[in-house]
Subunit: 431 residues, 2 copies
């Protein structure tokens, strides 16, 4: 007789996860049972039926869901921490476009992209949604790197066919044909890594390009990512480009980029209530990137308004406008930013709580990947094993240990990373 639990793993430790925005589930010395890469459940006592399974005991350590980054520009990695005295539009012109143009050369991608995947691994980002550059070959190389790594990712070749320097401007037809080629080649290549449609943002995409990408999304069931309302100058520019449109969001909606497939919109600093309602109704995800919004002097996203209207909010580092690869650093920046928004709103928009930012950086963003970011039944077992002894006493509640780790811990405290039930080992930093 075959052992019915031969594909079962049992992990023991101090378990923390967030089933909902308000709820932090903590189990001291608890068990996570995983079967076929997915969680069966979490338990205070190991159920009788698993008593014969081998238990991997992580002792005093924390077991957390892996971190999810909804917004990351891989070809800006080498620019982290540079040029942060600029606002969005001059920063794009002077720092970002010149750096991204280097990825025309595959050999430059081979120098930088392994460092990107390594940095995500190191920081416990088990799933990420990535902007590559406009370059097909470098984008394919990055997709392959993620597949080899064992980390989960959506990776998009950027589309932009207007309003950018010649050295990075695309021909519309070629932009579309290359995008289609990547979709066809990668959509069924890996269960963990997928291509994603990536029109950069309204100002750099012609109307026909957006419309065609909208049709790709429907016909090929491909997800979408872009930017919205990061900076006041950008919002004003979009209004000049589409004077007849109601607002920025309705342009994406009109051209088929909202509502047919899951879409991520990064930033959302200046959206109106009407736009927020449209995003909620269309199932659009908002990627909150507080560090990037500080760095480019954009402003603070009113996250509470989005949550109140039912928009799914996840977190993004937005490397390179955001300088840190770490999602915990974004979680704590999101709490800090929400406190300033609370003051600015005359205490009407409540600050974000620990459970809320932890949710956004795990299950909230994880939903874009399916059942990811929690230890509830049927969730992919994405997990981090955290040894926080160096941070001080362990004689605290698990909620306090989580808070302390998010505020003052770093990659040095992450001992192991699991994605979909498999431990992910350190990837190479060079090809």
């Amino acid at each position: 007789m075959i052992n019915e639990h031969n594909l079962t793993q049992v992990y023991k430790g101090n378990i923390v996860y967030t089933p909902s925005l308000e709820e932090l589930t903590t189990i001291e010395n608890g068990y996570v049972v995983v079967e076929n890469h997915r969680v069966i459940g979490t338990f205070e006592q190991l159920p009788e039926e698993y008593r014969n399974c081998e238990v991997q005991d992580f002792g005093h350590r924390l077991i957390l869901p892996g971190f999810v980054d909804l917004h990351f520009h891989a070809p800006q990695f080498a620019n982290r921490g540079l040029g942060l005295d600029k606002e969005l539009l001059p920063w794009l012109e002077e720092y970002t476009f010149p750096e991204e143009s280097k990825f025309k050369d595959l050999s430059y991608a081979k120098e930088i992209y392994p460092q990107v995947v390594h940095a995500l691994w190191k920081n416990g980002t088990t799933r990420s949604v990535i902007f590559a550059s406009v370059h097909k070959d470098s984008t394919k190389y990055l997709l392959d790197l993620f597949i080899d790594s064992g980390l989960g990712a959506f990776v998009g070749k950027v589309n932009m066919d207007r309003n950018c320097p010649d050295f990075i401007l695309e021909d519309s037809e070629e932009s579309l044909s290359e995008t289609l080629e990547i979709i066809e080649e990668y959509s069924n290549k890996s269960p963990l890594v997928q291509p994603i449609l990536t029109p950069r943002f309204v100002p750099t995409c012609t109307t026909p390009l957006m419309e065609k990408l909208g049709s790709f999304a429907r016909d090929h069931k491909v997800f979408i990512q872009s930017h919205i309302s990061e900076n006041q100058g950008e919002v004003d520019w979009v209004k000049e480009l589409y004077p007849e449109s109601l607002d920025y969001a309705s342009i994406y909606h009109q051209y088929g980029l909202f509502g047919h497939q899951p879409t991520i919109m990064a930033h959302c600093v200046f959206n109106t209530d009407t736009e927020i309602e449209l995003m909620a109704k269309s199932g659009v995800y908002a990627a909150h990137c507080p560090n990037a919004n500080y760095n480019l002097a954009s402003g603070i996203m009113p996250v509470r308004s989005f949550l109140n209207k039912g928009v799914a909010v996840g977190l993004g580092t937005d490397v390179g406008a955001g300088h840190q690869v770490s999602i915990p650093k974004v979680m704590t920046a999101a709490v800090q930013a929400s406190k300033m928004k609370w003051l600015e709103s005359k205490k009407t928009l409540e600050p974000l709580k620990l459970s809320e930012v932890f949710f956004m950086g795990t299950k909230g963003g994880g939903k874009f990947f399916g059942k990811v970011g929690s230890f509830e039944p049927e969730y992919a077992f994405d997990a981090l094993i955290i040894d926080d002894r160096e941070l001080g006493t362990l004689d605290l509640t698990l909620t306090e240990r989580l808070e302390r780790y998010l505020y003052i811990g770093d990659d040095r405290h992450i001992e192991k990373r699991f994605v979909a039930g498999t431990e992910v080992l350190e990837p190479k930093k060079t090809p």
Copy 2:
């Protein structure tokens, strides 16, 4: 004939420092010449007269002034990253006072304080201004630890004789006599470590206590530190306590705590123009603690207003309301916060530039210690040797390398620390 340069050290590397707020001096492959622990000068070519001196060559590395932290609560160290869902006054009651009360027991100080000194060392904070607790013996122990470490510090026994829980409330006479005992014992004990008068803040100090401490400052030439206008609730409370006073600052001034000796005021979020002018006139330093001000939902100090009126501004981590010991993290948080202030002020208060925050965290705060925080002639040679290869290409300007290090580097990139010309080795984390 005695070699006239037998006490001369020459260090070679990539030198960066700020003689003024606006000016970043960078010298590629330059030399710092140090004699009798003080800088003689920085040079692109080694002057003829030092050609026979041995050169310690740090190659591609950066040589920066050591970091200066003007505001740090040593007995809150173990609370870093905890309780950050509170505002100032409840946070003091629920988290801070109970933790500080543990330092009544010297054995608890012996557990925690070596970790404090180690953390400052690790993060490159070569000089710091420290609040201890109200407890005399633990405070003396901390002074001794700093003396043994080789780091520079002012350490103050806190005074508070009203409006705090019984378990931490002092008798006024005893508070004063213990303060005097520490002054007498430590004022001439070490060239690098000094006691400092530390009335916690107006709400917890009676008028006679403040007056008497003011007279200690004059009679014994002891410096002073306290808090001002961190939180709106605190400002309102002070107004209730002293309804006849013009403002918060004038209370400190009236009781002799401004203008006779150098004084640091931490936070300064809500000061009026009149207060800022009083501080400028009285030579009071403002310690800007942006992370703490975010964490306790206090607000953002209008640093530009203080600089415009000529107040000396330094930076503070404000551990434990601030979670990170790192001054570079405070520098970048200060830039970020100033950008939000810029938006809030309708673009009237210009954001802080890189040179300005670097100045504040080195020479700006360093001035409190004398000629500290720069590599200009006669400055104490406090320096950090930074190996930033791990952060990416070195094919950047030194200004860019500095910016990148401040944003994305950490303690792992600091190879050596010097204080007053002597290399400071790693202190023990246990007694």
